[in-house]
């Protein structure tokens, strides 16, 4: 159940920084450990930068969750870029179509508890990442 939510733009590096800072502030409020904070914020950084560089920018939906007395945070990053043709391949370590290290997508998946990717060529990419405290 989403307790509160916020939609932020993701068009520039500054937008990405604001998303990171907002999530970080929420996590401190909800008493997530420093490690969990760092992991989610790093994952947002990876996925957000993909949306900027490959997807041409998009938006981020931030949600505070509450389920069976457990608090959580879900971040959904969406872009209207070219999409990913082969998600399996994109999720492999050291695979990159650009000139990155190729650990962004697969690494981000390992950093969060729940990772959901939805993408089709020509229809953009939507990635949902959720963590629970």
């Amino acid at each position: 159940m989403s307790v509160s939510s916020k939609v932020l733009p993701m068009r520039t590096e500054e937008d990405l920084m604001i998303v990171r800072q907002t999530v970080k502030a929420w996590m401190i409020e909800q008493e997530f450990s420093l490690l969990e904070q760092t992991k989610l914020v790093t994952a947002i950084s990876e996925i957000g930068r993909n949306a900027l560089v490959y997807g041409g920018g998009g938006s981020a939906l931030l949600e505070q969750l509450l389920e069976n007395c457990r608090v959580g945070i879900r971040v959904t990053i969406e872009d209207q870029g070219p999409g990913i043709a082969d998600i399996e391949q994109a999720l492999q370590d050291a695979y990159s179509t650009g000139n990155g290290l190729g650990f962004g997508l697969s690494g981000a998946k390992r950093l969060v508890m729940d990772f959901d990717i939805c993408s089709k060529p020509g229809q953009g990419t939507r990635i949902k990442m959720t963590v629970w405290n």
Binding site: E13, M17, R20, L34, L35, Q37, T38, K39, V41, T42, S45, E46, R49, D93, G100, L101, F103, G104, S106, G107, A108, R110, L111
Partner: protein, 289 residues
Amino acid sequence: MIIDNISRIADIITRHQESILNDWLHEQLVALSARQDLISESNLRLQSTELLSLFVPACNTGSLSDITQPEWAFVLDFLNKISSSRAILGFSPSETATFIFSLKQPLFDCLRQELNSDAEVLVDELWIATVLLDKLGLYTTEVFQKSREEIIRRQQRDMLELSTPVVKLWDGILAVPLIGTLDSIRTQVVMETLLQSIVDTGSHIAILDITGVPIVDTMIAQNLLKTVAAARLMGSECIICGIRPQIAQTMVHLGVAFGDVVTKATLSDALAYAFRRINRAVIQQVAHD
């Protein structure tokens, strides 16, 4: 249509200058009641008087529907000055625009008094006045925005310079305390200052301290590695230090590593390692009583 004739606004303002000024000032003080720490009443009076004294001649000679005409240059110049100074003082855009918009009420009151016998003329004059003041008000907001952006740009430049000092720790040992996100512009600045310092000081060891970098994602790791590679090409060895526990764990999950670069937890560990590399040792002196 009255627009083709000469508007009576300038004439009416001239005759009621004193009362308009007082009412206008009152309106501004009410609107800014919470911000009296930022501007004094006497200052506000001075600014308001000056604007009216520029406004009347502009109305007399210039077109009331086009503030881009040269007759309005003095008014715009003055508004420019006020907006910029208020942006620096910390006013909000709407508080700045209130300076102009709060003139509406007093001016409309006077127009109504003077022209109440001819409803058609009154409506026409009110329309002219409201469009004119809207334009001037929007102009202040535009200038305000520009001044703010200028302040932000200057701060960004300042931060870029501030955040990339290269310090000499010892003969042959340099340290670069990195702070904030290491984007590509930042990396470029760090690389340039570091490489130049290596040449200037003839150092063989450079310590990159990332204690102040909040997160290390793949881009930041890649940028750090590029800096290390460039320093190596110039014959210097790099040590990356200041890797905090949560950063180390996150990097492991992420799957990025610094390869064969020497990494240390703290700056003092890195310095100790650097001393060994250049065959120096810190020894404790025995006290002689």
